[in-house]
Symmetry: C2
Subunit: 225 residues, 2 copies
């Protein structure tokens, strides 16, 4: 039996979880406009989804709506944010202060979404000691000690792909529980460690594929007419 990276125990459907943040954007917009309640039909229409799908997703968070009324906006926002754990922020370490690492360190929005990058590390001595968006870049040697001392659960990998596995090993050894992997490298980690891949290449592949299909469809229509 091949070792599975994902523990397929009881957890929420991942596609649903991924949609939740987009609901939040719309809901906060509603709140800003002074709306008190919102129906899943409205949400679905705005996001071009099926209303039932939205209802199912929202039900995951434990909220119940009222027929003919909808969901109370404030409660719904709170419910989703609680479900996603965005209320109590988790601290994370980032490894690899290149272009992307710097960009991530600059996203102040993460903090509103439950993630605080508290320290950055790099193997390049030239980068160590510099300051990026208010955080000093630390040497890799300090990583293990600090992970333990600060009870860090999340590691963010933004190093060149060849170094990714090595960094992952170091993070796991230090006691990290989840890795946000921005390289395309397929990381090998012990069971129980969560790896979420955020590399852009798969998304680019999907874009290419869909664009190709769209252009072909358009071409065909043009020839039929």
């Amino acid at each position: 039996m091949p070792a599975t990276l994902e523990s397929t125990l009881v957890s929420a459907p991942l596609p649903s979880v991924r949609r939740l943040p987009r609901y939040l954007v719309f809901l906060k917009e509603c709140r800003n406009l002074g709306r008190v309640v919102v129906s899943c039909t409205h949400i679905a229409e705005y996001l071009a989804l099926d209303p039932t799908l939205v209802r199912k997703d929202l039900a995951l968070t434990g909220i119940v709506g009222k027929p003919r009324i909808g969901y109370p906006v404030d409660e719904l926002i709170a419910s989703i944010e609680t479900f996603l754990g965005w209320n109590n922020t988790s601290d994370a370490f980032l490894v690899g202060v290149g272009h992307l690492g710097k960009a991530l360190l600059g996203f102040r929005e993460f903090e509103a979404r439950g993630l605080r990058i508290v320290a950055a590390f790099d193997a390049d001595p030239a980068r160590v000691g510099t300051s990026v968006h208010g955080r000093e870049v630390l040497p890799m040697e300090k990583l293990a000690n600090l992970v333990e001392r600060m009870h860090i659960h999340i590691g963010i990998i933004t190093v060149p792909r060849d170094a990714a596995q090595q960094v992952a090993d170091a993070l796991v050894k230090a006691g990290i529980r989840a890795i946000w992997n921005f390289t395309i490298t397929s990381l090998h980690v012990p069971e129980g460690i969560v790896v979420e891949n955020a590399d852009l290449t798969p998304s680019l592949a999907a874009l290419s594929s869909r664009l190709k299909a769209a252009l072909e469809t358009a071409e065909e229509r043009r020839m039929l007419v």
Copy 2:
């Protein structure tokens, strides 16, 4: 009408397409190590996937393997790259030269993956005229004209989320066919325009959710023992 046309009309399963780039990483590693053939079993083992799944994904690209041997590495790489359209690069425009936009402009790897960002635009006059990774930042006014003149199909949106819809409208009006959307804003576009969302927030949500589940599972096990 050739059968290939029909097969492209029914677009490939997106999850499969997203996995293809990860196969490529492994395959190129194999090639570098001097391997000539590789079996889907090996690929599957390395990526912690089911062998049959890998076989089905590879079959999408039209390659046929040999029993007891596997797939010829070079041919397989070529087959996947052709399928993904990584051989003939498409030109793209990027709008929004903030942290992320700059980071994307700095990724030279995109070119090996069929994407060349040929120009960058920004609404901020302070940024217009500056140079980022060798490309001059142009004013938004020039966008429409250049999209048409250069036959650009792909637009990349890396602006603040509030400006995203407006930029998308401008891109669509200019004649763009696909949008790579790095904001969490749900874009409204006419039918036939492809929108691929690459915002990190859904991935972060998935990470949080899975980490939470993993920690709970671990806790549960600990209490059982």
